[in-house]
Symmetry: C2
Subunit: 156 residues, 2 copies
DNA sequence: TTGCAAAATGTTATGTTATAACATATTATT
DNA sequence: AATAATATGTTATAACATAACATTTTGCAA
């Protein structure tokens, strides 16, 4: 678990270096906070958790700025439907996503970042662009009940 | 234009009667405010516009409550990506949508409520449910540049 | 028709999310 | 070392949303 987090942080650092972005100590710690949480947090939650984890102050204002940076760097996503932030699931792997897609469980609030087939995405994209609209990179947030909660609800 | 708005209000009234919902005068005026605006408004915008249009007070708190009602009735949608509300485009027509889909122009902020092919939606739904996730009714909000703005950007 | 209960609306307070504006500190470059 | 650019600290405020309780309106039954 810690290994996964460390390797993600390592990878993030390397990738930022390569692209000329400065993943400072605090920014890295904000990312680490999200990786450790393993679930979406609000900016204010992040600031609070940061203080607990690192015994170091972080104002919400700073959290927002660092989240902006991390989002630009593609390391963090914002869930618009819940105003929360979460670490990208694909930091440590090679998987490259154009359009992040999230399945959000309304029961246990876990979020799964998935990768729909490129075929399906292309179809979706084509269908939209046929209307004359030009898509910019965005994301899909789909709500429902996750497999685990579904099993808990109907036990047999 | 006014005809379209009136017929939508009429239809909304009829539909609410049929399903036992009470589309009160104020609720109807909130819906009218959105229909007249023809674009998404925040709850506070709605309260302000309501006062202007009807010379009648409406607190933001009341606006939120009326929006909740209108959303439950399927007459209004909330855009989660901009915290704004807009009248459903399909009030006056028979078109029934399970999953509302919006194309949001980041240039001029107009919103187009579209209907993707049922085939494509089914494929999307199947693809997601294959992961074990159970979708509840949700919506797609896709950002980009509308045809008009695109034309303005590249004039020839 | 009167009385009651439920639903709708009014009102005030407060919680939550996000940005503006300006000061200070750190870093890179010359 | 001087300078400029970037990052962070700090305070204030804007924007979005809900809680809690009072009052009014409505539907319905006695
Ligand atoms: Zn991602
Ligand atoms: Zn769940
Ligand atoms: Zn609609
Ligand atoms: Zn546009």
């Amino acid at each position: 678990m810690t290994d996964k987090i460390d390797s993600s942080l390592q990878k993030a650092q390397t990738e930022c270096m390569r692209t000329g972005l400065r993943l400072t100590d605090k920014r890295s710690k904000v990312l680490k906070t999200l990786l450790q949480a393993g679930k979406p947090l609000s900016a204010y939650d992040i600031a609070d958790q940061f203080k607990v984890s690192f015994s170091e102050s972080l104002s919400a204002m700073s959290a927002y700025r660092m989240l902006d940076f991390l989002m630009q760097a593609g390391l963090v996503h914002k869930l618009e439907t819940s105003n929360q932030y979460l670490a990208c699931s694909h930091i440590s792997c090679e998987h490259k996503h154009e359009l992040p897609q999230f399945l959000i469980c309304d029961q246990c609030h876990t979020v799964q970042e998935i990768g729909l087939g490129t075929h399906l995405l292309k179809e979706l994209k084509d269908s939209i662009e046929n209307t004359g609209f030009t898509l910019s990179s965005q994301q899909l947030e789909l709500h429902g009940i996750c497999a685990k909660c579904r099993a808990d609800l109907s036990p047999q």
